[in-house]
């Protein structure tokens, strides 16, 4: 974090774009979306509706490092391919 500050300098409030600017926001989750690929019909609605841009268009995979677990993808999926499952471990714990 400190290296970024040196680079920008203390002149003013200029920030640089980077993924994960709020850290691993996946740690916010209480529930995580789980996709059943057999039910998925590639309609792309989950990709469109994710407010955090965590789903890739190509593979429709969810980036759990940043997914906040809002549940919109599960509600909007027309085939019911996504279910919200309660988290057992946090992203941090998973990494260990």
């Amino acid at each position: 974090m400190d290296e970024k500050k040196e680079e920008v300098g203390y002149i003013t409030s200029v920030s640089r774009p980077v993924k994960g600017c709020a850290g691993d926001t996946g740690e916010w989750r209480v529930f995580r979306p789980v996709k059943d690929d057999d039910k998925c019909n590639d309609c792309l609605l989950c990709w469109i509706f994710c407010p955090e841009a965590t789903i890739t268009k190509e593979t429709l995979e969810i980036d759990y490092q940043y997914c906040k677990g809002c549940g919109i993808c599960a509600v909007e999926c027309p085939t019911g391919a996504i279910t919200m499952i309660k988290e057992e471990k946090t992203v941090k714990e998973e990494k260990r």
Binding site: K5, Y10, I11, T12, S13, V14, S15, R16, P17
Partner: protein, 417 residues
């Protein structure tokens, strides 16, 4: 090009010569002729700038800043209530570090509505982070516009500058002045090379949320910009003299100070008037001098200390008041001298709301402050009572509509005349 023009028109001509590219404009007396002339120059094809006729001064400052952040050299002008209206945005401009220049035609703030000259508007903005200059002549107005961009755009400064000129005394009177051509200015002022800007090739975010952990550093850096501005302002004035052969002082302008026993300190046109008072007193054999404060921000502490030490007395003229304390310039002068030069000082408050001040009045006040026992703050031309003090009649004027008792808390107050 030698012209006979008003201070306002000269500011406009100087902006054109300085290759200003964007001008957000909102009219307010007594600034209007600046933006009217700029509109004329553009419409006649003599000035190549984008004119933004904004719908308020707050918006004028917003557009000034965003145009500058996009990478264009931006200029505007205002006065009095207009300056006050954009107060929030003045802080913003300094905080986001854009080198914009704005002319402020010093005018009183009301109510009562008053369009004439005093410095209340600009001294009320002294904490915003803007550099502040006060010009005392038409020629200086022209030359300072050019110097201003040279100072603000220096990467050691990168702070906005407010160029103050007195309402009507300078803004509306005609004097002859030399306005350099664009080519001449270009030999002194290079094109604007912004430090960073809104550019799709290099996306960055400006004006982010900054937490306490980092905020102080951004502020300290603003102060460093102001401190650097002292040296940059001296360089800019010196180089201007080399190129154009004209000098108006740098942070200050001393007048007959070498052997002066008593010194007048003033800003703006009252300093010019003060020089005439000095000349008159010198003819009477009084060793008086004048120190004109040209840059109010950054405040020229070193120069003040050097030039005031050892004098018999100071008379600081304020065409403003910091209510609840004393004149703004006086307070800052005392701050500069405290603990370093103990010189008896008085504050002369004159000219508020455009009341005319003559050199004879100034000379009279100097003599009184020097030789007689005067209060620290001298309200030079203002009576304590002008027949408008609160009387029992006034306290009951409207209350007779309901219970007839005097309004307010008047116990112990002698309201019978």
């Amino acid at each position: 090009m030698r012209v006979l023009e008003t201070g306002n028109h000269l500011i406009a001509l100087a902006a054109e010569a300085s290759a200003v590219e964007v001008v957000p404009a909102y009219p307010i007396t007594p600034q209007t002729q600046i933006i009217e002339m700029i509109a004329d120059l553009i419409s006649e094809g003599k000035m190549d700038a984008e004119y933004i006729p904004v719908e308020s001064e707050h918006s004028a400052c917003a557009a000034l800043v965003s145009a500058s952040l996009t990478g264009a050299r931006a200029f505007s002008a205002t006065s009095s209530h207009g300056l006050a209206y954009m107060h929030e945005m003045l802080h913003y401009a300094a905080g986001i570090r854009v080198p914009v220049v704005m002319a402020n035609v010093n005018r009183a703030l009301g109510p009562g509505w008053n369009i004439w000259c005093d410095h209340q508007d600009s001294i009320s903005q002294r904490d915003t982070g803007w550099l502040q200059v006060y010009v005392a002549s038409h020629q200086e107005a022209v030359d300072t516009v050019v110097q201003a961009f040279r100072i603000t755009e220096d990467s050691r400064v990168l702070l906005p500058l407010m160029l103050n000129l007195d309402a009507f005394v300078i803004s509306h009177t005609y004097m002859d002045a030399d306005v350099p051509s664009r080519a001449e200015v270009a030999s002194y002022l290079p094109p604007y090379r912004p430090l960073w800007r809104l550019d799709t090739r290099k996306p960055v975010t400006h004006g982010s949320v900054v937490y306490p952990a980092d905020f102080s550093e951004t502020r300290r850096s603003m102060q460093i910009g102001q401190e650097n501005a002292r040296e940059v302002a001296r360089l800019a004035a010196g180089e201007f003299r080399d190129v154009f052969g004209r000098w108006h002082g740098d942070l200050v302008e001393p007048y007959l100070l070498d052997d002066a026993r008593f010194v007048i300190i003033a800003m703006g046109s009252l300093a010019a008037e003060g020089k005439v008072a000095v000349d008159a007193m010198r003819r009477e054999g009084l060793e008086v001098g004048l120190l004109r404060v040209r840059f109010f921000r950054p405040f020229p502490n070193d120069e003040i200390r050097q030039l005031c030490a050892g004098r018999e007395g100071l008379l600081v003229i304020d065409r403003d008041y910091s209510y609840g304390n004393q004149g703004a310039l006086f307070t800052e002068i005392k701050g500069a001298l405290y603990g370093r030069a103990d010189v008896p000082s008085h504050n002369l408050i004159v000219g508020l709301g455009g009341r005319d001040v003559t050199y004879a009045q100034i000379a009279d006040m100097v003599k009184k402050a020097w030789k007689e026992d005067m209060p620290e703050v001298i309200w030079g031309d203002t009576q304590v009572s002008s027949g408008h003090e609160v009387t029992r009649e006034i306290l009951c004027e409207f209350s007779e509509l309901f219970d007839g008792q005097p309004v307010g808390l008047v116990e112990g107050l002698d309201t019978d005349g």
